[in-house]
């Protein structure tokens, strides 16, 4: 499912701008970005979280009684969910084909790995 990156940055003028993980775009243009690139963006904007996690993946304590804790890598959000100054990212909805059965969209975003 492609994403449309529209750059209309008020101060960038006639220049390229770089969004880490997503690519380089000319101000004033619209560019299509594919799922792989968006996944790369989510990884590159991910963060580490340290603590004791519950089953829902929430940190419930900084460490256990012995001072131990776990570190998880949390993917960043997809670009269309973010407020990026001068940039609008929209997720291009694909019309489901009549012959192709629809399947649930894969869960993206916060995804923990140990």
């Amino acid at each position: 499912m492609p994403y449309i990156v529209k750059v209309d940055h008020p101060s960038a003028g006639d220049q390229d701008v770089y969004i880490h993980g997503l690519g380089t775009f000319r101000n004033g243009t619209e560019t299509t970005v594919d799922d792989d690139q968006v996944m790369r963006f989510c990884i590159m904007t991910g963060t580490q979280v340290q603590g004791i996690f519950n089953d829902e993946g929430e940190v419930v304590a900084p460490h256990d009684e012995d001072g131990r804790s776990e570190v998880r890598f949390i993917h960043g959000r997809e670009p269309h969910e973010l407020d990026i100054h001068g940039v609008t990212v929209t997720k291009k909805e694909e019309k489901p084909s009549a012959k192709t059965p629809t399947t649930p969209a894969p869960k993206t975003g916060e995804e923990g790995t140990k």
Binding site: V7, H9, P10, S11, A12, G13, D14, Q15, D16, V17, Y18, I19, H20, T24, T45, T47, Q48, V49, Q50, V71, P79, L82, D83, I84, H85, G86, V87
Partner: protein, 310 residues
């Protein structure tokens, strides 16, 4: 949270509509390092009361101080110069020329919010002004250091996804040095051009802590440089306290450059040591600027596609 490192940090700036009111960043600046901090001048109580200890503290006034060093990028340095004690004029369309000329105002005309993210924690320094600007050559590229002073840390919590500039630094092959202007010279390898407006925060008796306003003081503007010592011509000018116009241009094409001019540079230090058997004989020179006959001191000219209103 977990342990963080500098690579994950970022700095963004935005001009403030109302000085001291936090504004989320509109321009993200690739930096080499920064040292901005909130300085609190607490008053520790030490009355004589049968105790050698400090018996308490009175919360003091606070302000923001520190510096930011970056590769000199015309579209980034522009923002800091616009918040210094200089007046900018913008010409052109698409490819803009911003010419900044020093002024003698007492208080800063324009302030910025500087947002720094350190290990995911957002610091929002408000009312920031550039008190001192330095253009120098380090590691064969031009670098800027801007000494910042400001009002406070607003501790904002905006969601920040930066859009980074793609401009490139000025390295070998991008230089034009003219001393005296317009005579091109090829004997300089390093320089440091500094403008120090002696900026400071001012504290007054009032109903809340923090600075009341920022001000500038006496300006000093100087350049230090290392040049090959080939003959006594320049040394003679030093002895005679002869003023010269010095121009340095760093250019990455016709429409992207940083230029500064010292309109009447006086050499007040001229060292030509025999420093060692194998050492080239070089001159370490300090240029001080004074006004020329037309009242010009220095200027800084940025050619860029960046769009701001100076």
């Amino acid at each position: 949270m977990t342990y963080g490192m500098g690579a994950g940090g970022l700095v963004g700036v935005a001009f403030e509509t109302v000085s001291g009111t936090y504004t989320a960043p509109t321009k993200f600046i690739p930096i080499l390092n920064e040292s901005l901090e909130l300085k609190i001048q607490n008053i520790y109580r030490t009355p004589i009361r049968q105790s050698a200890a400090r018996i308490g503290v009175v919360p003091g006034d606070f302000s923001v101080e520190g510096s930011i060093t970056l590769e000199a990028l015309e579209d980034c340095a522009l923002y800091f110069t616009d918040c210094s004690r200089a007046s900018g004029i913008k010409t052109g369309a698409t490819n803009f020329v911003y010419t900044f000329t020093p002024t003698s105002v007492a208080v800063p005309p324009k302030t910025m919010s500087i947002t720094v993210v350190r290990n995911g924690v957002i610091f929002g320094y408000t009312g920031c002004v550039v008190g001192k600007s330095t253009f120098t050559v380090n590691n064969n590229i031009m670098e800027n250091t801007f000494d910042i002073f400001g009002l406070t840390d607003a501790s904002p919590s905006p969601a920040l996804t930066p859009v980074w500039p793609t401009s490139v630094p000025y390295g070998p092959g991008s230089w034009s040095v003219q001393i005296p202007n317009p005579t091109a010279v090829f004997d300089m390898d390093t320089f440091s051009f500094e403008i120090d407006d002696a900026g400071q925060e001012n504290f007054r008796l009032k109903n809340q802590r923090g600075a009341q306003f920022a001000s500038f003081g006496e300006r000093t503007c100087q350049m230090t440089a290392s040049r090959d010592f080939l003959d006594a011509t320049d040394y003679t000018a030093f002895k005679a306290v002869t003023g010269q116009k010095a121009t340095i241009i760093a250019s990455n094409g016709a429409n992207n450059s940083i230029q500064f001019d010292l309109f009447n540079a006086i050499k007040d230090v001229y060292q030509v040591p025999l420093s060692g058997v194998g050492d080239l004989i070089r001159a370490s020179i300090t240029y001080q600027t004074v006004l020329d006959g037309a009242g010009a001191e220095y200027d800084i000219i940025y050619k860029t596609q960046e769009v701001i209103t100076p």
